[in-house]
């Protein structure tokens, strides 16, 4: 891993705000887990508890008009870009007030008004989309950048390689941020990949600069993202960032993740991104009580979100026939 960026890159109050965002995400994911067990969330969920620092750190380095594309494990990215826990949980609970009107579900959280242009459930599909948004920004001269967040498993699918190649050839302002949580679903990524760093080690083949970073340290993620954003905005093209992190839950709702060695789980749990941020706050002289108050506020926000989502109405059945076409309807014939 590269050297940890200087803590004073981020001021105390800003870091406290990032910590609170991470705390909100952590509690939202816990709430999603509990609501699923209570039978109030159907289908599946891919929880991002443990990945909070990647989403929050990267988001801190972006402009409000930049574009973010995420995977089906994307709750943290939606919230980091401004989606509320209430609209996310309402979506999971199939409520009319859901962020996608209950038409998307857990795997497709999207907040287009905040530049969060979707969560995609076909592995790797959104890397070319992010490159396309970056191409659009370049064509319009807008100075925007696009970010694709993806898992380690996506580095073995064709769309990853097509996207990196064309992004490099066209010098597109796009960041490819891999959340390497060491497992592609249930299988260790090392057992299906011939290089130790599945994203970063492939980048040189496309002449794209890459770095491997501590994805559990929000300050490190923010600093690495800021460097890549600076490169992108100044016309130097794409960057690959491989952020090493770890899932606190299994791959999806039905997975207890028993395939992970206990010592490995223990080691990563001791490197909880919230603990690391709290330690950094202490180093910056932030009183412990401030972090506790941030935790309390996060708990309050999520508790209110759960209550509001539970109370929200179900969608109107007629809404199944809206939003297919831009005219709002679904008519396909006369």
């Amino acid at each position: 891993m590269t050297a940890v960026a200087a803590t004073d890159d981020i001021g105390a109050s800003e870091l406290l705000a990032l910590y609170e965002q991470m705390a909100v995400i952590r509690r939202t994911e816990k709430a999603a887990h509990d609501l699923f067990l209570a039978g109030l969330v159907k289908g599946t969920t891919h929880l991002a508890a443990g990945h909070e620092a990647v989403a929050v750190g990267a988001s801190a380095a972006l402009r409000p008009d930049d574009y973010v594309f995420a995977t089906y494990r994307g709750h943290h990215h939606a919230i980091a870009r401004g989606a509320t826990p209430e609209e996310c949980l309402a979506e999971l609970m199939s409520k009319a007030t859901g962020i996608c009107k209950a038409k998307g579900g857990s795997m497709h959280l999207t907040k287009a008004s905040a530049g969060m242009l979707g969560s995609y459930a076909i592995v790797g599909a959104h890397l070319p989309l992010a490159a396309g948004a970056a191409w659009s920004a370049k064509l319009r001269g807008s100075g925007q950048v696009a970010v694709a967040f993806f898992g380690d498993g996506a580095t073995n699918i064709g769309a990853f390689h097509e996207a990196l190649n064309i992004a490099a050839v066209w010098s597109l302002p796009v960041l490819f941020i891999c959340e390497n949580n060491l497992y592609m679903e249930y299988t260790p990524i090392g057992s299906v990949t011939p290089v130790p760093n599945p994203a970063a080690d492939r980048a040189p083949a496309y002449a794209i600069p890459a770095e491997v970073i501590d994805g559990n340290d929000v300050v490190v993620v923010a600093a690495a993202t800021a460097r890549a954003v600076q490169r992108a905005r100044s016309g130097q093209g794409p960057t690959v960032i491989e952020a090493r992190t770890y899932r606190h839950f299994g791959h999806s709702r039905t997975d207890p993740a028993t395939y992970r060695p206990a010592e490995e789980v223990q080691e990563w749990m001791e490197r909880d991104p919230l603990d690391i941020a709290r330690a950094r706050l202490a180093t910056l002289g932030v009183p412990v009580e401030d972090a506790v108050r941030a935790d309390d506020r996060a708990a309050q926000v999520v508790a209110e979100a759960v209550a509001a989502a539970r109370a929200a109405p179900a969608p109107d059945p007629a809404d199944a026939f809206t939003d297919v076409w831009a005219d709002g309807g679904s008519q396909w014939r006369t």
């Binding site: 599909a125 490159a131 319009r140 005219d327």
Partner: protein, 332 residues
């Protein structure tokens, strides 16, 4: 083509493709093109000839052989303010970028509750009859018909190419635009200035009273030729050019069948799963009392397309097969 105007300018279908794209590029700075060999090379079918020279590398982008990147970039750009026209060289290659046509472009608006709009056109060279073999000859319009959320266009003549291209590029919804390889050299009247053909409006290519032939793209001139041949026997066939599969203009089809009471569907995609099955089922459901004979379909046989002409002609629609079907239907 059956009805080439003696007056006015006559152009090829191939030239009309480039003309239709050029008109939209001139009209709207958000329109941009990408695809393999579409720039200086002018496209492998010369359907983008002259665009690079007029609009330059900022509007006409040559890509690597990366169909997923082509459609993915087009979609990402369409989501963020551009109106891309992407070319997939042969429609058979849809299979290597099918995720974007099946899962991404047609679903993102719906699954985000209407938050995202994808004004993209995917152009492709479709169809057989030219001896390109099983992986470069397929008529795959039925693949796209299986996906809710795509609009599907397949023009049969140069003026429609220009007019439908205008509507496709201006559409806020994703449009798959099938250009037929067997029609590129065909000629017809040039499109007038500002020509726009709305999506979802079939054309009556030939008026008639005895039976209705529903056709699309290359099967339109095929049906017209067969109808002309049967006219000598006193059969008056009406030919409907659907022009689009989605939106599907069944009102025009049902109205015509109401007058003729007989229906023949001529499609180039395989009989098994072909678009004619959808048309036939709607007529059976909503127009049963209009019919005096069974609905008949001429389609490709359910075999991979062979290379040799003598073999390929056995399994794709031909004027002879259409003429024979008309005779059988009139004798019923």
């Amino acid at each position: 083509m059956a009805d080439i105007s003696a007056l006015g300018q006559t152009v090829t279908y191939r030239e009309a493709v480039a003309e239709g794209i050029a008109r939209e590029l001139r009209r709207d700075p958000a329109v941009v093109c990408l695809g393999e060999d579409i720039g200086k090379a002018g496209g492998v079918f010369k359907t983008t000839q002259g665009l690079f020279e007029e609009f330059g590398p900022g509007r006409i982008w040559d890509t690597p052989i990366s169909e997923q990147a082509i459609l993915g970039l087009a979609m990402g750009a369409a989501m963020t303010g551009m109106r891309p026209i992407a070319e997939i060289m042969f429609s058979d290659f849809f299979a290597v970028c099918w995720d974007y046509l099946a899962n991404e472009m047609p679903k993102i608006r719906y699954m985000t509750g209407g938050q995202i709009t994808v004004p993209v056109v995917v152009r492709t060279a479709n169809g057989g009859g030219l001896g390109f073999g099983a992986q470069h000859s397929q008529a795959v319009e039925n693949w796209t018909l299986a996906i809710p959320g795509l609009k599907i266009v397949a023009p049969s003549n140069p003026a429609d190419v220009v007019g439908l291209m205008a509507s496709a590029v201006r559409s806020e919804d994703p449009v798959v635009f099938f250009e037929h390889k067997g029609l590129f050299a065909s000629k017809g009247p040039a499109a007038p200035a500002d020509h726009v053909v709305p999506l979802g409006q079939a054309a009556i290519a030939r008026a008639g009273t005895d039976l209705t032939i529903v056709a699309l793209a290359v099967t339109v001139p095929m049906a017209l030729a067969a109808a002309d041949r049967l006219a000598a026997d006193g059969v008056s066939a009406e030919v409907i050019d659907l022009r689009c599969l989605v939106p599907l203009d069944m009102a025009t089809v049902l109205e015509s069948v109401g007058r003729t009471s007989r229906l023949l569907i001529v499609e180039e995609n395989p009989y098994q799963g072909g678009w004619g099955g959808t048309v036939a089922s709607i007529v059976a459901d909503e127009g049963f009392e209009l019919l005096d004979a069974p609905v008949r379909r001429i389609a490709a046989d359910c075999v991979p397309l062979p290379f040799a002409d003598a073999l390929e002609q056995q399994v794709i629609p031909t004027v002879e097969k259409v003429a024979a079907a008309i005779r059988r239907l009139m004798a019923y």
